[in-house]
Structures are given as C-alpha cells and as structure tokens.
Amino acid sequence: MFLGLFETLRRHGVPVTLRELLDLHAGVERGVVFADSEAFYRLARLTLVKDERYYDRFDRAFAAWFEGIDNLDAAIDALIPDDWLRREFERSLSAEEKARIESLGGLEQLIETFKQRYAEQRERHAGGNKWIGTGGTSPFGAYGYNPEGMRIGQDGSRQRRAVKVWDERRFRDYDDSRELGTRNIKLALRRLRHFARSGAGEEFDIDATIDATARDAGLLNVRTRPERHNAVKVLLLLDVGGSMDDHVHTCEELFSACRSEFKHLEHFYFHNCIYEGLWRDNRRRHQRLSTFEMLRTFGNDYKLIIVGDAAMSPYEISHPGGSVEHFNDEPGGVWLQRLAAKFERLAWLNPMPAASWERTHSTRLIRQLIGDRMYPLTLQGLESATRELIH
C-alpha cells in the first residue's frame, strides 16, 4: 500500500527496511491514525526513521511522494496569499520553492485551485474547526503559516497543516550525510582492546574460590579479582591547521571515538610535520612541550597513532629550517625517525585517499621513514592500522 513511499524513501537515501514498512502498516491497521495526513506523516516518521539525521531526508522524500497524490486536500492549503500579500509572499520564497510553484502551473493558477478547494473544505468542515469560523480576513492568520516557518494563529496544531510540517524541513541541520559514524570507528577501534586486570578486587572469582576453599578443607574462602579494563595505551598526534582544515570533521569523529574507547589516551597537536615541540591545546599552542620530553614521558608500550595528510614541502622533512612556521634546527625527518625508533607500534592515518599518496613527494618520504605504515583514514584503513598496532 505504501510501497511508493517506501521506494521514494530508499531513493532519497533513508535507510528503511521491510520490517519498518510492516510496522507502519500495523499502525495504520490498528487505527493509530485515521484520515489525517499530518498524523500519518508523524506515524510514518516514527516508524520508518530511526535517527534524527535522516529526518530532513525523510521530509524531502515525503514531500516528493505526497505531491504525487493529488486527491488529498491537505496538499492544497500550502500557498494561499491574498493579492495584497503576494509580493511579500513571493519575496519570502526560496529559489527551489519558486521553481516548484512554477512546475505546478504558476502562482496564479495555484491560488485559483486553492480557493476552489478552500470553499469546498469550508463547507465540509463547517463548525468543527475554529479557524474556519474566525479566519478569512487574514490568510496568514487563518492558515497559520508563512513559508519561512513562522506560525501565526493560536488554536493549537490545526493550523500547522501537514504539507507544511514536512516542507518546513526543520531538521535540515541534523542531516550531515556523514560516512563514518562514530559507532563504526569505535567498533573498528575495539580490536585495540587489551584487557588487563588491575586495581581493587571487585569481581567474584569462581575458580580461585573453589581452589582456595578446597585447600582449606571445604571451609569457604571467597576470592575476588579486579574487573577487566581496557589497558591499551594510545598516544595520538594530530596535524592541525592548513591543509588539514578540510578533514576536521573526520578527525573530530576519530578523536571523540578514541576518547570514549581508551582510558589511557594522550594526545598532542603538530602542524604539518613533527619538530622539537608539540602542544596539547590549540588555543595555547605556544605552551609547547618539547618532543624530547614527550619521548621520555611515554613508554614504548604506548601505541602511537599519527593523523595527518603528510602533504607539505619536502624540505620540511629533509632540511633544517624547512618548517613553515619557525626555524627548526633539525629536519622533520630526524624527529620522525626518533619517534619510529622509540614506538614500535606505530601507524599513520592519512585522510587523503590512498590513490593520491604516490603523487605527493612528502607523503612518499614519510612512508619510507615510518616503514610504510600509512593507512587511509577510512574504516578499512583503520582496521588495517589496528591490526598493525595490536601485535
């Protein structure tokens, strides 16, 4: 019955499955909604969409599907300005809305159609609905809507007619079409879990208790042990600024996933290449920690993850004084070698697609320096990186 809607949704990239469609059917069958297009819209959204990220896509798909159904009178009361309001009204329309009006035969015709429909509707609903009784002078007051989403008129939700609810597209901001959700990143990082028991004993240890009890000739001797914690230690070095600005979102996601996944996570920032100083807070990047100190502070049981696009001038790696920001006594390559020598478990995550690496001279240099342990910042890349880091 709603196969058209189902197909439209899938075409618009809303992940819906048969199970959810059946839910919608069940809802309609049980009479949760009846002959109310706005409620139907809500029920459909409730059952078919599982994340507010998809609300906007759903609204668009629903509007597209709904426009195809012309025997529902709710589709009409969208655009109803009187002559004296028309200019104001046209000004407030966006380009795409204007285009849609054109496709429906222009504003004039639309208003004509509407007025006809409105007359019919008024008779049909007479007495039942407050706004018809009081409305009529000011269209905007009566229909309670202006295309910019402002609502005028006070008697509850009746004014917010269905078409406009989804055309408001109030959830536009939530749709970021991100490819890499943090859940996926976290699942990829799970491979890095290294469980160890430390701290106070809280968990009942059956084996040890049986053992101890048997040794005490059957006198109960309860043993506990500490709970398991993820003991993996991760050191994260992040390239910031410059060419990395394009990848901020991906890096933020990776960072937030790491933050919640690892208890022992240390992070530092650098710009372009690693030199003698790193910083922890981007707003106080002048309070630097010497890289030597960093090397001394963290043991080689830390797993080192460097995130950067490795796109820089080759001189930054090969020559003293090559840095774009300051005069460095030692070339970046020397620092990279020091890091690689200290931290056996190392991976470089590069947000640039792997196909482009060969074309960048500095990327080739860095791959040589770190023993070809560069991985793309995608889920597959992350998985290969964790495989490299784990053993």
Binding site: L46, K50, S157, T182, L220, V222
Partner: protein
Amino acid sequence: MAFQGTDTYVASDALRLAVDAAVALERPLLIKGEPGTGKTLLAEELASALGSRLITWHIKSTTKAQQGLYEYDAVSRLRDSQLGIEGVNEVGNYIKPGKLWEAFESDERAVLLIDEIDKADIEFPNDLLQELDRMEFYVYEIDRTVRARHRPIIVITSNNEKELPDAFLRRCFFHYIDFPDRETLQQIVAVHFPDIESRLVAQALDVFFDIRDVPGIKKKPSTSELVDWLKLLMADELAREALYDRDPAKALPPLAGALIKNEQDTGLLERLAFMVRRQQSARR
C-alpha cells in the same frame, strides 16, 4: 486510550502520537533530544497518566544487560551452605530479579524506563534484542522462562553519546524531541508557574532565545534550565529588576549560573558584550 500530556507535562502532537503508537503496537519507544527537553520525565508522566507502575533502570557505564534480567548471588549461597542455613538447596533463593524481570512479572502493565542507554558499553543494546522482541528470557539456574504477563510499555532514552546498533533500532519506534518553539515554551512555563507575571516570562524568553542563538555556544540552555532560572528569578526581586532594565553591554543576564553551565560559554558571552560596549563607545 490516548496520551494527552498531563497537568505538569506539555507533550507535542508528534510525541503524543509516538506514545500512542508505541503503546498500541507494543514496541519500545526510543526518545532522543537535547538534554533537558524532558525525555526521562516523559516516562514518569506517562506512568502517572496511565496509572501504572514505573520501573526505572538507570544505565551506567558499567551496567551489563544481564543485570536487567537477573543476578545469581553465588557468594551468599556459598556462605549459607557453610553455615548450614535452610533453603540453600533451592537455587531460586539466590536469584535476584532485575528490572526487566520485575516489569515482566508485574500484575498489571508497567512502564519500564531504560534511562540513558547510550551510557553503557557499545554492545549493551545488542544483548537485549531477544528480550525486548519476545518479552521473555530464560533463567539457566532455575531452568525457567520468564515471560511478560503484560507487555510493559518500554521507554528508552538516549543522549547520543554512542550510536546504537541498527538491529536494536529496528525494534524500536524513534522519536526526536525537537526543541520547543516559543509558544510551546510559554505553555510549559505556564504549567510550571501558573501565576507568573507575563512580563517576566516575555523578558526571560527573549534572553533565553538570544542566548540559544549565540553562534558557537557549547551547551545551549534547555527547557529544564529555563524552568530553574525562572524559579530563581521569581524568588529574587533584585534579579528580576535587573532583567527588566537589561543593558546589552552587561555581559550576563542576572543569575546566569542557572542557564549557562560552561565557563567557555560564559567567556563567549562576555566577549560579545565587550564588543557591544566597544561599538557603543565608538558611536559616542
């Protein structure tokens, strides 16, 4: 039956429909939304509106799915066996029912709130799939299947700290509590403070929405913070006066601590006010 909100809770049409559908089709209802928009409150109000019992299961980072079903207290049993206490042969004496069990065994339909499910481990929701789907689970120790006598109404809240697995989402109805518009907020305020001055509400809402609109603010103040703030304002005459003749060059609204919970945001507002002051003095 239809949930209409209660004397103390204003529910939007969409939320009412969501609750009705979840009750009618016996599906768990997953509620997301900004903190402070009344996600947890919904379950409480729903329970009181239906006159049924509310069972709350607060999820923490250490919570395991098994704890919601039952726990077997082996230590007590071992101890009792040493002391020769009666009933130690009966393993059932040492099974402690969890919140789900409690909800399933309830004599009448209960409302079960699983609060902040995103706090638990990333695998947690997957461990509850069967239980939520079939509303039954098996207790190995006593070889018995616990079945729901009346399918409880399940409300699950999430703050989006972790994404939930697809398989879990498929079994739920999903509703996102959108931040209320001004009208709805006015209703909410009216519900909480029936005899508040309308001038105070108008002023406070202006300030409130201004702060929410400040670009780059980290933690937007929410409904519950507005209610707290109004409560403070009503108790404090001086602060109220300060609110009425509010000068844009003054950094923070009176009693701002109730609205702004983050020192970065405080700093941001102070910087903005500083810019306003500078503009004013440049104009003079």
